[in-house]
């Protein structure tokens, strides 16, 4: 038997190696691998030094007491800020609110808005439409690159992984805003997109052809590329309509 690699040792440590008896037998006879496994075991045992502060028996009741007002508050207002705002990056909060405003803006009774207030709102809407459309285009590009990737033996997708990781954070923001605005169709597509992006971001950067095919299969069976393209087209349409409306008002 060849020497065991680190991944095999990790799986063995967690009791998930496919053939534990063969690994045990190899460890018994191979001093190098045994030393490697002992090193791994020492490090992972040290991680257990991280202890969690004890919670009282009554902790569940205390959580409920703190939670209950928020639940009844939600019934009245159906909205409540999450976490403490002071802990948030203000930029993220403002962006999220702007994105939410963009989605909500679709349902706003435009005729009742004073004309003097429209231009800044429309400019903002155009910017937001552009950023959502750009996000969808970038996501499509990454998915296309993964679908079309090729290589001898293993395929390097490290660049696509880095892009996917960046896109996940933005996607999460847009998805949450779509959810809050009740845009179920948009939210659903963004949720599917997020799963695929996460999958890419957290795969090995060197994919075997089997792993690559599995990702391709998921992209294909869910029709995610098609859905992202359709949603992207709709957003672009809205962007053009907003630009036309702005030009008309400026005449």
């Amino acid at each position: 038997m060849k020497h065991l690699n680190e991944d095999q040792l990790i799986l063995h440590y967690y009791g998930e190696a496919p053939d534990p008896a063969a690994i045990e037998s190899h460890l018994f006879s191979c001093a190098d691998c045994r030393a490697g496994f002992e090193g791994l075991r020492r490090v992972l045992a040290a991680a257990n030094a991280l202890q969690v502060p004890e919670r009282r028996e009554s902790y569940g009741s205390e959580v409920w007491q703190r939670l209950r007002p928020r639940l009844s508050e939600r019934r009245r207002w159906d909205w409540k800020p999450t976490f403490h705002v002071s802990r948030w990056a203000w930029a993220s909060l403002i962006t999220a609110m702007l994105v939410a405003a963009f989605f909500l803006g679709r349902f706003w009774p435009r005729a009742e808005i004073p004309v003097a207030k429209l231009p800044p709102g429309q400019v903002r809407e155009r910017i937001l439409l552009a950023s959502v459309a750009d996000h969808l285009e970038s996501s499509q590009r990454v998915l296309m690159e993964v679908v079309n990737a090729s290589g001898n033996g293993s395929v390097d997708i490290s660049q696509q992984q880095a892009s996917a990781e960046d896109l996940v954070a933005a996607n999460r923001l847009y998805r949450q805003s779509a959810e809050r605005a009740g845009e179920a169709g948009m939210e659903g597509v963004l949720e599917e997109l997020e799963r695929i992006l996460l999958e890419i971001a957290h795969s090995s950067s060197q994919l075997t052809s089997g792993e690559l095919n599995e990702i391709r299969r998921r992209i294909d069976t869910q029709g995610i590329l098609f859905k992202v393209r359709v949603i992207g087209d709709r957003v672009r349409e809205r962007q053009k309509a907003a630009a036309r409306e702005l030009a008309r008002r400026n005449l």
């Binding site: 090193g39 791994l40 020492r42 992972l44 991680a47 209950r68 939600r74 976490f83 957290h202």
Partner: protein
């Protein structure tokens, strides 16, 4: 005797029909587990409390979307992990604009264990905890989630994938990367023991 899973399922049904006491039961059953998960994800007691609150708040909002054939605990863990990841991402973006904290003023919850007997052991124990905390903080949010669920929560890699919404192979690679990074960070200290 009714299992925890069965009593959860019954409580979910009642909570969906507007029985707040049923939701209370769910909160009371799972709060400690979610706190433990949240603390290991965030490394901070106050953040963990926020995550616990946010998790149950979201679970309440999304209760109608819960599929009865699923395991409530797995579903709740998924919400908990997402809440913790949201917080970590926001904190990371926020921290990019902040001065780094002095190590001793950082997330000061990993205090000395009073049962450590000799001064040498006490110092070493504090150092191990400090380095474990730092090593965990250096993991990406997804690596940290996968590691916490596998190493501390004892979930199988397949279950980790279910909670994180990843294929098993992707969950496995996240765990591999996390363990490798932990090893690089902690091995020098552990070697000094020998």
């Amino acid at each position: 005797m009714i299992s925890m899973e069965e009593s959860d399922a019954a409580a979910v049904l009642r909570a969906r029909s507007g029985d707040s006491q049923a939701f209370r039961l769910l909160v009371e059953h799972h709060s400690r587990n979610i706190f433990r998960l949240a603390y290991r994800m965030t490394g901070n007691e106050q953040d963990a409390e926020d995550v616990v609150q946010e998790t149950f708040f979201k679970a309440f909002r999304q209760l109608n979307g819960f599929e009865e054939r699923s395991n409530f605990s797995t579903w709740l863990y998924r919400i908990g992990v997402n809440c913790a990841l949201d917080l970590l991402r926001k904190r990371r973006r926020h921290d990019e604009f902040q001065e780094p904290l002095e190590p001793d003023h950082g997330r000061g919850v990993f205090e000395a264990d009073p049962h450590e007997s000799t001064p040498d052991r006490l110092v070493f124990s504090i150092e191990v905890k400090r380095q474990v905390t730092q090593a965990l903080e250096r993991l990406s949010p997804m690596e940290r989630s996968a590691f916490v669920l596998r190493h501390f929560e004892g979930m199988s890699i397949e279950e980790v994938g279910q909670v994180l919404g990843l294929q098993t192979s992707a969950a496995k690679h996240s765990i591999f990367r996390a363990v490798r990074k932990m090893r690089v960070a902690l091995e020098p200290l552990m070697s000094s023991l020998r």
